[in-house]
């Protein structure tokens, strides 16, 4: 079953309506894999994003339920039945497929700020800049970062 409840999917595969949805999805996976945040932290961030974006006036109870649902589904031993219940609970409140990745993006932006990720992103870009510098430098010559590449 999916780690992410209510993710728009066909035959178990994620479905993206726009390229940015796929990018947001893969970015979250990549950042988790590199240890930037845990799934618990992600589920908290997602729950808060839903509260901020869809229930600006409050909705603590919904947040609590969404948070529990995501946490449950992130566990390994949650059965099909529990997943279905989660979906049904959420569907009562929201048109999930339309807003699903907007919530991801909002949660991602908040986590990125909380985790001070600008530095990490800069590092990743710089790794690529060094790789390109090697590829652009004739064999035997010293490899240096060009000025333009440096100011990432």
């Amino acid at each position: 079953m999916s780690l992410f409840p209510d993710q728009p999917a066909e035959n178990g595969e994620p479905v993206f309506k726009e390229p940015w949805e796929a990018q947001a999805f893969s970015l979250v996976i990549a950042l988790h894999e590199s240890g930037v945040f845990s799934w618990d932290e992600w589920s908290d961030a997602l729950a808060q994003a839903i509260r901020r974006d869809l229930h600006p006036g409050g909705g603590e109870e919904v947040v609590q339920r969404v948070s529990e649902a995501v946490a449950e589904d992130a566990g390994e031993d949650v059965g099909e039945e529990a997943g279905k219940k989660t979906s049904e609970r959420m569907a009562e409140k929201e048109d999930r497929p339309d807003s699903y990745y907007q919530h991801w993006l909002a949660a991602l932006e908040h986590l990125a700020i909380a985790k001070g990720l600008s530095g990490a992103g800069e590092l990743a870009q710089r790794v690529q800049a060094w790789r390109e510098a090697y590829l652009a430098t004739p064999h035997g010559q010293p490899v240096e970062l060009a000025c333009g590449q440096r100011s990432v």
């Binding site: 790794v127 060094w130 970062l145």
Partner: protein
């Protein structure tokens, strides 16, 4: 087949990550090149096992120094100028004919830098960190060190900022040797406790 000379093969991802880190930190002014050089120079040329060997040879040669060393190693080696990072608090444990000491850090790689420099790869490796506490005799035998059945083997796990140095037994047949001759006998591994020192005629 002609070789493609208009590019350089990028090094491993690991090397690129370190290059990225260093160039970013230097450019943003978070580290200074001369400070990096000073740090490397300190551990490549100034701090190393010769410091520990000096302390050991002095302890063998000077009984009152040895007593002071075993009572308060931190202050005693500070008097010789051995102070600094990863040597802020020191305990020296003495090997005798009945007792053999062995030092490990199971949780990371704590090590008395001021006296031994940076730890060797094996000291930081999983097999050593895992097994030194549970099967010290097997570990010692892998270093060629086989101790009598009756020897009391004491393993020191460096879990705090207290650093441990082994004072090895002075090899037999070295009576009358000068401190500098003795110093040349002392190996790094003997001060971690994985090997015994032998009288080596060629050192004299």
């Amino acid at each position: 087949m002609s070789h493609d000379h208009d590019h350089t093969d990028p090094p491993s991802d690991l090397e690129l990550r370190v290059k990225a880190l260093e160039s970013l930190l230097l450019e943003k002014g978070l580290v200074k090149q001369d400070a990096l050089n000073a740090i490397i120079e300190t551990y490549e040329h100034q701090v190393g096992p010769k410091n520990g060997a000096h302390v050991v040879a002095k302890a063998w040669s000077d009984l009152s120094f040895k007593q002071a060393l075993l009572a308060d190693a931190t202050a005693t080696v500070a008097d010789l100028g051995y102070v600094g990072r990863q040597g802020e608090h020191l305990t020296v444990v003495e090997n005798t004919s009945d007792i053999h000491n062995l030092v490990v850090c199971t949780l990371c790689s704590c090590y008395p830098w001021t006296l031994l420099g940076l730890p060797p790869v094996w000291y930081k490796s999983a097999p050593y960190r895992a097994r030194a506490v549970s099967e010290p005799r097997a570990v010692l035998s892998e270093f060629g060190t086989v101790l009598p059945e009756h020897t009391d083997i004491r393993v020191w796990d460096s879990t705090s900022e207290m650093r441990y140095l082994v004072l090895p037994e002075r090899p037999a047949g070295t009576g009358g040797w000068r401190e500098s001759q003795l110093q040349a006998l002392v190996t790094r591994n003997s001060m971690i406790g994985v090997e015994l020192l032998r009288h080596r005629e060629e050192v004299k």
